[in-house]
Symmetry: C2
Subunit: 463 residues, 2 copies
Amino acid sequence: MSNQINEYIEKNKDRFLNELFELLRIPSVSADPKYKGDVNKTADVIKQKLVEAGADNVEICKTAGYPIVYGEKIIDTKLPTILVYGHYDVQPADPLELWTSGPFEPVIKKTELHPQGAIFARGSCDDKGQMYMHVKAFELMMKTNSLPCNIKFMIEGEEEVGSSNLATFVKQNKEKLKADVIVISDTGIIANDIPSITVGLRGLSYVEVEVTGPNRDLHSGLYGGAVANPINILCEMIAKMKDDKNHITIPGFYDDVEILSAEERAEMAKAPFSLDEYKKALDLSDIHGEDGFTTNERNSIRPTLDVNGIWGGYTGEGAKTVIASKAYAKISMRLVPHQNSDKVTALFKNYFESIAPKSVKVKVTPHHGGEPVVTPSTSAAYKAASKAMETTFGKKPVPVRSGGSIPIVAMFKSELGLDSVLMGFGLDSDAIHSPNEHFGVFNYLKGIETIPHFFKNYAELSK
Amino acid sequence: MSNQINEYIEKNKDRFLNELFELLRIPSVSADPKYKGDVNKTADVIKQKLVEAGADNVEICKTAGYPIVYGEKIIDTKLPTILVYGHYDVQPADPLELWTSGPFEPVIKKTELHPQGAIFARGSCDDKGQMYMHVKAFELMMKTNSLPCNIKFMIEGEEEVGSSNLATFVKQNKEKLKADVIVISDTGIIANDIPSITVGLRGLSYVEVEVTGPNRDLHSGLYGGAVANPINILCEMIAKMKDDKNHITIPGFYDDVEILSAEERAEMAKAPFSLDEYKKALDLSDIHGEDGFTTNERNSIRPTLDVNGIWGGYTGEGAKTVIASKAYAKISMRLVPHQNSDKVTALFKNYFESIAPKSVKVKVTPHHGGEPVVTPSTSAAYKAASKAMETTFGKKPVPVRSGGSIPIVAMFKSELGLDSVLMGFGLDSDAIHSPNEHFGVFNYLKGIETIPHFFKNYAELSK
């Protein structure tokens, strides 16, 4: 079987790349309304590609936001069904000036970690490239008559803005989405020679805060010292959210946090990791984080509070002596099992309001959230994925907990009763959500190669 | 004499307003290079207006930045000479969306404090309107043959960006600028029925800071908790610059601060002021400032530290889960006698660098500064101004210390040996440096009326 897969990929790889390039050229930024037409256009292209690959009943399912592309191939209702989830929307590309080539002008460039070249473009790794691996692997199985079980596709366009309408769609389409397992490629591997499968994800609580001082911008000479400056106050409030050991100070924040045993932490510590290389890769003189935890623990089993954006006052060239009327920040908290997103958002709001001095008004607006998850590494799906990666990488993958969030994994479990297997092929260094996002050509093709093995293994293990 | 002045103003006031409107329509924003042509054009218009008013030797004096417009009328070298300083550049107009009419489309609207109407436009009060009062008062004295002494004009175009090239110009033109006193209208009065003259100004130290964490923007899921977030760190550092009594914590910051006696503070406390009205006008639930000082003390005799702008990370619509590589702030400190701007800037830089955790890199860039001043209220020029205002307002003006900064006043003293008299006609509520800046029609015409009296009084008192 491996031969057939590899031959097909070898013969078609240039086309596989060109088709992905075509997708990457459409700026499907879901966070910015000005790209509305492009986001919708991307859904149309995905639909067309699913049809061409051989899917049936392909449709653009309308939602209150961006549509979900659905498609399926039911070869035998007695066989197991794998539901593929992915997303066609991408993060905003700014700051644009830091891209070395256009974010929507995909190009292959070699990097230290990708000596065979990587595709540079917004969405190359997250998630157009990884989502499209499944479309091409499906095409491969169809054209080589090797699809071993049923397949369904659910590709959404609002993942980067909190999948606001996905839960409703899932609730309203339980029969259509009936499956045995969900497979998602929106995570990564440790390195191209150290495959891994994600077995845990952090949750998310994302809020926007606004601090209002005087009712208008003021001259800092005439008023400075005598009125609350909302930027200074916002900084002081943000500073108060952590103590000098970098523990988050929101009352109740840690109440539900899962505490790992010494054995579990010792097991985690075995994962290959070099602190020196980590610091060197990010040009950091020192690491920074919660006292009492290692770097790998800080970004996986511990919750966080990060300001993702801040703005207020004069930010143009030169100097302006103004006291702004308002200051703003976007703040997100990553959550771990068994924290609850709504609960943490409420704790944040209460605390933020409680520490505001009387001289300002504050507003907290929840953006979106998601629940943390741990997926079972004992399931048939996990075993099928592990065996597939072992075949294609020549090495058994390591189970790891990731610091990222895919909030819909918990929702799929609660609404559809389905576990997900998180079989991603990106690298941490692929700069997703950053300028110069890229995805290794090796990784893209390795994904297309691995997926048919996963399908075959899963069909066999489900017998 | 009053009759002649008032008749001339009555006859020409519409033209006086129209000519000011013409000036206000040119967006002479010195902080933003895109307005370069407009700033230069404004200098040309001022030159033309001085020529028309009757000035001699009018010229556009080149500097390394924007030019200085010079003009003079020497009627008798034995008579005293008054040097008029003003500036034709304006603050940036943003945030544009908060203006109720275009910042460069002057229009007269009535307000509570300006029942006769006020001119709404960027620069109407600061300083085109106040500077142009002098041009029109000069025209009046020329056309009515009442100029009682020599006059020189020095109108610059870089006041809002720190008058970077003025000191060099002054040093190179000491003979040309020889005078007995300088008059500046770039300050305000307490109210239209409570005239006042500014006798003290705060100094300024303005810096821009940059905090760098990782060498690129990172995904907050994959890295959050394990690397220094430069925005969180910047907030923590800004918070550390004040203690819980709102005292500034920079070591040595208060060393040179002039401490007023109980008598002096009691004298200050006699100035008319309503805390309730102050809070109401700014829609503040509570005031905020340094413990142990009143509102009027906080914004005049005490130094401050205000963040004038802050930015970093994702500030667009929606949510982006990013850890920014860099965060920035513009921070200014208002200084009081006998603080020194360069010294305070150095103290700030040392402290800011000393409190930075090892996990980030910081950079402090000084923007511009200026020294605090107290001008003598016993001089002939002060008496001349006081008597002029008493004539035109019907009330003796109150001497006040302002919280604002006109850094060039200290420079004029040290370079030219000249005192300045700060005879301004704006109101604190005129929203200079803010959206909807305006200048009362009453105030504009009252300025044109008062200035010839000041000239006459000064000539007489100098005999």
